[in-house]
């Protein structure tokens, strides 16, 4: 899941409450792993196509995260293909491809691909802010167990705010060190790792200083944890959100039914 890749447009999915989208992503992943036959995957495919159509986000954005996990998918496919025992289909030298292996490999590849696309849709249609708000709200029952839910959400949103600032700073420090003869892209792995030291030390020092300043500024503006706070943009459900939840319940129910009942294939 990559945060901050929000694609700005206006669609039902964009306007939907972040809590529904978060629950939806989890429900969709559950439905994917419940799928045990062709019909289960067909259900997941149809659901995905409908959601993609609703989101109005171009397909190429959905596939963005695919390259980074291409290796993982290949690995899973190869292992499942050759390591699963069962009816032999093809045998080349010591490698055997079995019917069960082929099915398992294909279904794993489909699951992983759908999983990535599914979670991409969530981050593409939800601003990082809405996402942290949604997480805070969904996890708030854990407050009973004294889990620091508000604090974690606040940390996430501050991290998001400071990522670009620290990136800029990294760039500045890198240039400053390069001006003094440092090089960051020469030598082997160990050399490169060593060359990161003059970059990371000043970056950490400055990040800590910023953190101190920010804590001071937050306190000066009356921040004292989440208890007595009100929300400027409180989350509230609309009709479309209730419909969304209903669709999710139907999705899970259908996935369970398709797994249990006997259908051809």
């Amino acid at each position: 899941m990559t945060l901050g890749q929000y694609y700005q447009t206006d669609s039902v999915l964009h306007r939907m409450d972040p809590r529904v989208k978060l629950t939806g992503t989890i429900a969709y992943i559950a439905a994917l792993f419940l799928a045990g036959n062709v019909w289960g995957y067909l259900l997941a495919t149809i659901f995905l196509i409908v959601v993609i159509a609703l989101s109005k986000v171009p397909i190429r954005f959905m596939l963005k995260g695919m390259r980074s996990i291409a290796f993982l998918i290949t690995l899973t496919v190869v292992f499942n293909l050759f390591m699963t025992p069962g009816d032999e289909l093809i045998a080349v030298w010591k490698l055997h491809i079995t019917r069960e292996g082929l099915i398992l490999a294909v279904s794993m590849a489909v699951r992983l691909t759908y999983l990535i696309i599914g979670s991409n849709i969530m981050t593409l249609t939800t601003t990082p802010n809405a996402l942290t708000d949604g997480m805070e709200s969904l996890l708030s029952p854990l407050k009973v167990l004294h889990a620091p839910v508000h604090e974690v959400a606040m940390m996430m949103s501050i991290a998001l705010r400071f990522i670009p600032i620290l990136m800029e700073e990294t760039d500045k420090i890198m240039k400053a060190q390069m001006a003094r003869g440092a090089s960051f892209d020469e030598g082997g792995l160990i050399m490169r790792a060593k060359s990161m030291v003059p970059l990371l030390v000043p970056l950490f020092v400055s990040a800590f200083r910023r953190a101190g300043d920010l804590a001071l500024a937050m306190e000066a503006r009356g921040y004292r944890g989440g208890d007595a706070r009100t929300k400027m943009k409180p989350l509230h459900y609309e009709m479309r959100d209730y419909i969304g939840y209903c669709v999710l319940v139907l999705l899970i129910a259908a996935a369970i039914v398709l797994r249990i009942i006997k259908l051809p294939f």
Partner: protein, 285 residues
């Protein structure tokens, strides 16, 4: 009405070596008596290390006196139960614009203070609107703070403080990291706040040209208040200021030199408009 008062305020920093052993004490603020009336525009001037920022931190209950007392709107800062009320009464704007903006969108940052105060949602929006309009940043409300200029970021920070409806705003060198146009923006916003909204402003700075509009100026050196008075009174004492490593504004300097050469103009000229007026009224150019 007296809004802020300090009596014999002292603040010591303890110097420690690497092992945490005490190696000495530095008295950053040393016996300061200060009185600020509600509605005033106050400037505190001083060169680096004069203790002006330490003094400012006392007014917002960020630091607590080693000795002496600070009252903000009648509340003693040493009393822990007053801390949040004091922070709401005396807002604070810091030096680095990047390190005091919490929200990812301008309007959310301005809403941060009211959210902490537990204000109902509808009123938060009202406050955000009025404060952003007061500093002239309303049309930037949906922007990400990262894309704003330094002066705009500081104006957002000021709006974030005004949204808490404080009686007083303490600005701790708000222009030190800005370019000249950004500095002008921020000072203009601060003055408008004082003129229109009647908020007491305490501006900490080492730029002389920023203090010329204040009602009262305090000059600090080595932890003590060494001069106080109206900007006119302060700037006429050029030699004394020089001793505290401070310069008078260029125009005042020019007027001073012209006076020395025998021209008949007052010594407390603060702006170029004033100087032109004085010169044209006395001499037909």
């Amino acid at each position: 009405m007296e809004l802020i008062r300090t009596k014999d305020l002292k603040h010591e920093y303890i110097k420690r070596d690497e092992n945490g052993e005490e190696t000495g004490r530095v008295c950053a603020v040393d016996g300061v008596d200060l009185s600020v009336e509600a509605g005033q525009f106050i400037s505190i001037l001083g060169s680096n290390g004069s203790g002006k920022s330490t003094l400012a931190s006392h007014l917002n209950a960020i630091l607590f006196p080693t000795e002496g007392t600070v009252w903000v709107d009648g509340m003693d800062t040493k009393d822990q139960s007053n801390v949040w009320d004091i922070r709401q009464t005396a807002g604070m704007v810091f030096q680095n614009p990047d390190n005091q903006i919490i929200g990812q969108i301008v309007e959310e940052d301005v809403g941060f203070g009211p959210e902490n105060m537990g204000i109902p949602t509808a009123q938060i929006w009202e406050r955000v609107e009025e404060s952003l309009k007061a500093v002239g940043m309303w049309e930037y409300r949906k922007h990400s703070p990262g894309r704003l200029s330094g002066g705009q970021k500081q104006r957002v920070s000021i709006a974030g403080v005004i949204a808490m409806h404080p009686k007083c705003i303490v600005m701790d060198e708000p222009t030190a990291m800005l370019d000249p146009s950004g500095r002008r923006e921020v000072i203009r916003a601060a003055r408008a706040l004082n003129d229109v909204e009647k908020v007491t402003v305490i501006l900490i700075t080492h730029y002389m040209d920023e203090v010329i509009y204040s009602d009262k100026v305090f000059v600090m050196d080595k932890g003590k208040v060494v001069m106080s008075g109206t900007p006119g009174e302060i700037f006429t004492e050029r030699d004394k200021l020089k001793q505290y490593r401070l310069d008078v504004p260029q125009v005042t300097m020019l007027a001073y030199e012209l006076r020395k050469r025998g021209l008949d103009i007052p010594a407390d000229v603060l702006s170029s408009e004033d100087l032109v007026k004085e010169l044209t009224s006395r001499y037909s150019i």
